[in-house]
């Protein structure tokens, strides 16, 4: 769906994106992670042909970008760096204007001038703005604007959604609604490329992640692989000292009541501890959280270093 090779973008002396090779397969919900200023938005802009890369190749749906933008972009819905709309017009009027701009794609995305108002109304309903009516966007709250941006992205029932921080400004309930919406769209066959710095959001939604650190893609892996058991077992016991004695050199790490044991099968560890009469409070395979993975792969910002 999305493939880049050696994607590089330089703004003057600043290397914003450095040799990035993204690979997003059809059907993925791809979480594109990175700290503020790591180059996420620039990458997204490159994908959509807004920013022209200094070097490298981009393919969207197998077609080169930005050359084939005219054929590919009608099948892509996007939200780039926050929503934008004409403040003096209503949400509905904004959507019809967006719909009327640009060519009229054929096929299932098509539909002409006549169902324009209908399409806009449906998109508004999907994002929960159906009742807002004729109020001008100027009077919308941040959350409502965000929803309107999503509605614009969904207007043509895209095959690929490229969303940059889609839950920015939404309240917890709104975030849940967006998550549900994205899951529904994904179930209906839409590929989602979600750029975010919110780990929780990505953790709950995505099937694959890419991690950007200072313009470089330092990790690209399926979430299941990242969270697979590490081959160690976590033991929590009130009598940590005795447990360490029993397990001997297999203990990697002891911290208070918590031990990390080099053993893939928790059942075996449990049996040994119980046989020696060591009380076990908790026991299970060690899994790394997304946060730990990210922390490990991202070089820490030096004190005083400015996020760009």
């Amino acid at each position: 769906m999305i493939r880049t090779e050696g994607l590089t973008k330089r703004f003057g002396s600043v290397l914003a994106v450095d040799d990035v090779a993204l690979d997003v397969a059809p059907g993925d919900i791809y979480g594109f992670l990175g700290a503020n200023g790591s180059g996420k938005t620039t990458t997204v802009r490159c994908l959509l042909g807004l920013v022209l890369p200094t070097d490298g190749r981009i393919e969207l749906m197998g077609r080169p970008m930005p050359k084939s933008g005219r054929e590919v972009l009608p099948k892509v819905g996007s939200l780039v760096e926050g929503p934008a709309a004409y403040g003096h017009l209503s949400g509905h009027a904004n959507l019809t204007l967006i719909d009327a701009s640009g060519g009229r794609p054929g096929g299932p995305l098509g539909g002409g001038r006549r169902d324009r108002a209908d399409r806009a109304r449906r998109a508004l309903e999907v994002v929960g703005l159906g009742d807002v009516g004729r109020r001008p966007v100027r009077a919308y709250s941040l959350g409502m604007r965000q929803r309107l941006g999503l509605a614009a992205a969904l207007l043509r029932q895209p095959e690929l959604l490229v969303l940059d921080e889609p839950t920015n400004g939404l309240d917890p309930q709104g975030i849940r609604e967006v998550r549900t919406l994205l899951q529904e769209l994904h179930a209906a066959g839409t590929t989602v490329f979600l750029s975010s710095h919110l780990l929780a959001e990505v953790d709950q939604l995505c099937t694959r992640i890419g991690l950007l650190d200072r313009g470089r893609l330092v990790l690209q892996e399926s979430l299941a692989t990242l969270r697979a058991p590490t081959g160690r077992t976590v033991v929590v016991t009130p009598d940590a000292a005795r447990a360490a004695q029993v397990l001997g050199p297999a203990v990697d790490h002891l911290n208070g009541q918590r031990l990390l044991v080099r053993a893939a099968d928790p059942a075996v560890v449990n049996a040994r501890l119980v046989a020696e009469g060591v009380p076990v409070a908790e026991l299970g395979p060690e899994r790394r959280s997304l946060e730990e993975v990210i922390e490990e792969r991202t070089s820490a910002r030096r004190p005083g270093e400015v996020a760009r």
């Binding site: 022209l52 005219r70 972009l73 996007s78 934008a84 709309a85 004409y86 009327a100």
Partner: protein
């Protein structure tokens, strides 16, 4: 796309306020003339103003001459300067481009909507000028329906087509400003900078026209032939300034639009 741009431009209150203000100044002048009956002496003040007391219908042309030096170019610079930079500032430019709207196409649509605005402005100024002149100043007796600047009589048909020609010429004269503002509009994300830049270009040109030392430059200044539409009302028409003005504007418009296109189609949209 052009339809969408026209809806956007003429759906905004600001556009209509600009056109209203454009008509306010000549109307005010007309009211003052009708009230005081003090017209500038021939050869002084805006063109044609000395003749309108004798023939109110002439005020249509006088109104054009009143708004041409400053009011009209300001309105044009505001609209054209806002064209691309305004979308960039509002963030809507990126959503237009990923819709996708081709960059060349967007630029052409913006240009055409600016042209439509200029044309509407010029036509309304002429029409409103004609109406207020007709009612406030009164018509001359039919025998001297219209006296050309050269002193001979012009038939109403002659006046009509010359006025149409004047409207087109003034519109075309404004395209130089429009192209400049549009070019600047593609280089910045601030509509204000684009508008002020275009106005600086204009004021610079007008200023150099008053400096004798700049005489070698003067035939190439964009505002040099702006008032040449007055020559359309000479008998016979004095074509030299008109054609030179058209050629000069065509060069400015061509070069600036090409620059706007080259810049806009190759630039990173980071707004």
């Amino acid at each position: 796309m052009i339809r969408v741009e026209l809806v956007k431009l003429f759906g905004r209150r600001r556009t209509w306020v600009a056109i209203g203000l454009l008509n306010l100044l000549p109307t005010l002048v007309c009211v003052l003339l009708a009230w005081t009956r003090i017209a500038p002496r021939p050869g002084q003040g805006p063109a044609f103003l000395s003749a309108v007391l004798a023939n109110g219908s002439l005020f249509a042309i006088a109104a054009l001459a009143i708004v041409l030096p400053l009011f009209l170019p300001i309105a044009v610079a505001v609209v054209a300067g806002d064209a691309v930079a305004g979308e960039a500032q509002g963030g809507t430019l990126r959503y237009l481009l990923v819709r996708p709207v081709g960059r060349t196409r967007l630029l052409v649509a913006k240009l055409l909507s600016v042209v439509a605005f200029v044309l509407l402005g010029v036509v309304t100024v002429t029409a409103v000028g004609f109406v207020v002149g007709h009612f406030l100043l009164g018509d001359a007796p039919l025998s001297q329906a219209m006296v050309s600047i050269s002193g001979s009589l012009l038939t109403p048909e002659q006046v009509a087509w010359r006025t149409v020609a004047a409207i087109l010429l003034v519109t075309f004269s404004m395209l130089g400003v429009a192209a400049m503002a549009l070019f600047l509009s593609t280089t910045t994300d601030s509509p204000l900078s684009a508008t002020l830049g275009a106005l600086a270009f204009l004021i610079g040109s007008s200023l150099l026209l008053t400096v004798d030392a700049a005489r070698p430059l003067q035939p190439y200044l964009p505002t040099r032939y702006w008032l040449s539409f007055v020559d359309l009302y000479r008998d016979p028409i004095l074509w030299s300034s008109v054609t030179r003005g058209i050629a000069l504007q065509a060069v400015y418009v061509g070069v600036l639009l090409l620059a706007a296109w080259a810049n806009f189609t190759t630039r990173d949209v980071t707004s």
